[in-house]
């Protein structure tokens, strides 16, 4: 009897070990195959240099936002202020640069400091005032939105050519912006794995009471996650400024980066309530969205159907993950079908 239960446990363990990140990448391969077939029926080559570059470009902005959002969600919080941080940082960058290559350093620094500041505010509201992240960041986001709507009537500032190169050049089919995004992902993944703060993000998101009873300072990981989230959102804003050549007050909200990033994070297997997830799963989720969008554009699917497909994919993904959720209560007896 001991043998069989051990065996069952082992099998169950390997089943769980294939893990959500594994499923995400299997799904990505599936999407790639289906996409390649669909694109070839439209008489185009899915794997052409141009198309690969389009997909990777599509990944980079959402990637930055999703990496940050993943950290916040891991901690059991949420960030809805990202689209406004994206817009604001694109404006700060473009206006400070004002077409002068000499101002690039200062402009980047200011945009990132702005992002970090917003994140700090979000984090402190969540931890000290104990306002749920959803509401805290909604409020902060609205404040920035209000400022953007009253102070800007349209695009502003001018990005010098040197900075525009980041958004325009690449190595082979791989854009520089994607490389920066992947490098950021590597750093954040290492941070999660190899720092106490990173480790404790999983802990506070998984179970706040256990974390407190283990002597953790439970606010610190949450504040750090919010700061990093808003900073990566500012990075996304910088990238958009380099691509557009100007700052725009609406570029973030038009992109719908808040909900899309949350969707990518969840699609990547991170639990919306926190405690479980990974940066690589998140990038997988971002890639799935980018490939789907690309395919749907190439085969000229109507915008309405695009959103229908996206919606179905998100809901289906979460339904699959929930089906794999661990039993809350420990079973005393192995369940067998009636009659055995």
């Amino acid at each position: 009897m001991t043998m069989t239960t051990t065996r069952a446990a082992t099998i169950q363990r390997y089943g769980a070990r294939l893990g959500t990140t594994g499923i995400v990448y299997c799904a990505l391969v599936g999407v790639l195959v289906v996409g390649a077939i669909l694109v070839s029926t439209a008489g185009r080559n899915f794997f052409s240099q141009g198309n690969i570059r389009d997909i990777l470009t599509g990944m980079s902005v959402l990637g930055f936002v999703a990496i940050g959002e993943a950290l916040v969600i891991l901690c059991g919080s949420l960030d809805l202020s990202v689209p406004y941080v994206v817009s604001m940082s694109s404006l700060i960058a473009a206006e400070v640069m004002a077409g002068e290559p000499g101002n690039i350093g200062l402009a980047v620094l200011l945009a990132l400091v702005f992002g970090a500041g917003v994140g700090l505010a979000n984090g402190l509201i969540v931890t000290k005032l104990r306002v749920h992240g959803l509401i805290a960041t909604l409020g902060v986001g609205l404040i920035i939105k209000g400022y953007l709507a009253t102070q800007y009537k349209g695009t502003a500032g001018k990005v010098p050519w040197d900075f525009r190169l980041i958004g325009a050049t690449g190595i082979g089919p791989v854009p520089i912006s994607t490389l920066i995004m992947v490098a950021t992902a590597v750093l954040v993944a290492l941070f999660l794995r190899n720092t106490r703060t990173g480790n404790h993000m999983f802990a506070v998101g998984g179970n706040l009471a256990v974390s407190r009873l283990s002597g953790l300072r439970t606010s610190q990981p949450i504040v750090v996650a919010h700061v990093l989230c808003s900073t990566t959102a500012a990075l996304a804003g910088l990238l958009l400024a380099s691509r557009l050549g100007v700052g725009s007050p609406t570029v973030g909200s038009q992109g719908g980066y808040d909900l899309l990033a949350i969707a990518a994070v969840v699609l990547g297997g991170t639990l919306l309530v926190g405690g479980r997830g990974s940066i690589w799963g998140t990038l997988g989720g971002v890639a799935i969205f980018a490939v789907m969008d690309n395919v749907m554009s190439v085969i000229q699917l109507s915008p309405f159907l695009k959103d229908v497909v996206r919606g179905i994919v998100i809901v289906a993904a979460v339904a699959i993950y929930t089906g794999r959720a661990v039993e809350q209560r420990r079973a005393r007896f192995a369940t067998r079908k009636a009659g055995s």
Partner: protein, 509 residues
């Protein structure tokens, strides 16, 4: 042993919650290399005592001495850093993190500022090896481990603090037989390392197997402390329960008749209970006794379809039913008064009226108007005191909330009512009202199953007593059985079958 100095010494600890004394002037000494058993009924104060020593609660009076020095912990981590660790019944583990990450949570070893995952794994493996455990991989996710393995992780975590005192709260409550042996081995190893162990358990067999000293608590007060060798099971049980049953249980109403079988379960089982054969008859109050975690609530949830049975049959009034949802159960005339009224019984921020109509609106919407007219009458007959039916339920006292839960179910005119800890946390007046209601329901021919951890209540109210142990109904005892008999059965001893009381035979369908 008397020559030794205690590592940890509790002196005259008292604790009150909301005016109720749960611990009254209790003293206890823990010696290195000694396993000290702490026993008592549910609610005797064992957990409170442990939690004070672990720094979860602060005592109202008395003190805790560590190496003769008074300590006052306000946070469990302070106690753990001093080498006083506790393995609680509910595990403090993160299921999504690895064994090593759990053991060193908050104290991850670092090299050059970064977490040294390799060192963390190595240190965890070394701690596990000290316990003689080679089958747990420090890298495996805790959520994939079985209960016994998770328990070992908890103990490993305690060891990682260089614990000199380890308290264990019901460490075997969730373990299977062969896993208990494993725990025994670990306890003995800890003992050899001169760790002082406080072992809280309901399983008296274990207490005698492991402990050299046994302390008995009852109703928050110390009954006795002494060498285990001077006690036997009967004497221990006598000390745990020995009290007279008070007379506040209303007698059976004249004219109540035990009638036909209302609910019959044959061979019932699921992940939490097994081999359940059960019959409830109209007009009969059946008590269901057992220790916490013995599967009583799980059985109630199975009968109510909340966590359906996966094996066996259920029949209501002779008709077989597949009881796979609470909705179906309610339609079949079953009501479940849940253990936790705030989380499972009431919508706290809704009105008294809305709560009274909760089940009716959900299951029998056509009867809503008819029942709404009756609600004030039902509430006043139960003596629910509220400021009108519009008041939010969260502002009612515990007793009134419980009466409202009863009103909610009475509105459905149930024929089978399952009460899960019906008088927990309510005042004496409300308790008596609940007892009287049960008697009246019985008179009206309702079949009643009452789960209770209060032995006097079980004995005082039941026409027949079932006892659960380890997910199974292990004994059926007649009305008026002694507390000792029930306790023995509940702690896993073969029931002393009284004359003329043979476990019920159930015909298999």
């Amino acid at each position: 042993m008397t020559s030794q100095v205690p590592i940890l010494s509790a002196q005259g600890l008292s604790k009150r919650f909301f005016g109720v004394t749960v611990l009254d002037d209790v003293s206890l000494d823990l010696y290195p290399g000694s396993v000290h058993g702490l026993v008592g009924e549910n609610g005797a104060g064992k957990s409170t005592l442990m939690k004070i020593m672990a720094g979860v609660y602060e005592s109202d009076s008395g003190q805790v001495l560590l190496d003769g020095r008074a300590v006052r912990y306000t946070h469990p981590v302070q106690a753990m850093r001093d080498g006083v660790a506790t393995v609680f019944q509910e595990f403090n583990l993160l299921p999504e993190r690895s064994v090593a990450q759990n053991v060193f949570l908050g104290r991850e070893p670092r090299r050059a500022g970064f977490v040294d995952n390799r060192e963390m794994g190595r240190a965890t493996a070394a701690l596990l090896a000290e316990l003689g455990i080679d089958f747990i991989d420090p890298a495996s996710r805790v959520g994939t481990l079985c209960v016994a393995e998770q328990q070992i992780v908890e103990i490993t975590k305690a060891l990682s603090f260089d614990a000199r005192v380890i308290s264990m709260d019901e460490p075997t409550a969730a373990l299977a037989g062969n896993e208990v042996e494993l725990l025994y081995g670990i306890v003995r190893r800890l003992q050899k390392r001169n760790v002082a162990i406080l072992y809280v358990s309901h399983r008296l067999e274990e207490v005698f197997d492991l402990c050299d000293t046994i302390t008995v608590l009852k109703d928050g007060a110390l009954v006795s402390t002494g060498p285990a060798s001077e006690l036997d099971t009967d004497e221990l049980v006598r000390r745990m329960v020995g009290r007279s049953i008070s007379t506040f249980y209303p007698a059976r109403v004249a004219g109540t008749e035990t009638g036909d079988i209302r609910l019959a379960v044959a061979g019932g089982g699921n992940a939490y209970v097994a081999d359940v054969d059960l019959e409830l008859r109209s007009g009969e109050i059946v008590g269901l006794a057992g220790l916490q975690g013995s599967g009583r609530t799980e059985l109630a949830e199975a009968l109510f379809g909340a966590v359906p049975l996966t094996a066996g049959t259920i029949a209501v009034d002779g008709a077989a039913l597949s009881m796979n949802s609470p909705r179906r159960a309610v339609r079949a005339g079953i009501a479940l008064v849940t253990e936790d009224r705030k989380a499972q019984g009431l919508a706290l921020n809704q009105s008294v009226l809305d709560n009274a109509l909760l089940v009716i609106r959900g299951v029998f919407p056509a009867r809503t108007d008819e029942v709404r007219r009756k609600v004030p009458g039902v509430l006043s007959s139960l003596e629910v005191s509220s400021r009108g039916t519009g008041q939010e339920v969260q502002y009612l006292s515990g007793g009134n909330q419980q009466k409202l839960v009863l009103a909610k179910w009475l509105a459905t005119e149930p024929r089978i009512v399952i009460f899960d800890e019906p008088t927990r946390g309510i005042d004496v007046g409300a308790k008596i009202a609940v007892y009287q209601l049960m008697r009246e329901l019985a008179l009206a021919g309702v079949a009643i199953l009452m789960i209770s951890s209060e032995l006097p209540e079980v004995i005082g109210m039941s026409d027949r007593i079932l006892v659960m142990h380890d997910g199974r109904i292990t004994a059926e005892l007649p009305a008026g059985s002694s507390e000792e008999t029930v306790m023995l059965a509940a702690t896993g001893h073969s029931p002393v079958t009284p004359t003329g009381d043979v476990p019920v035979e159930v015909a298999r369908g």
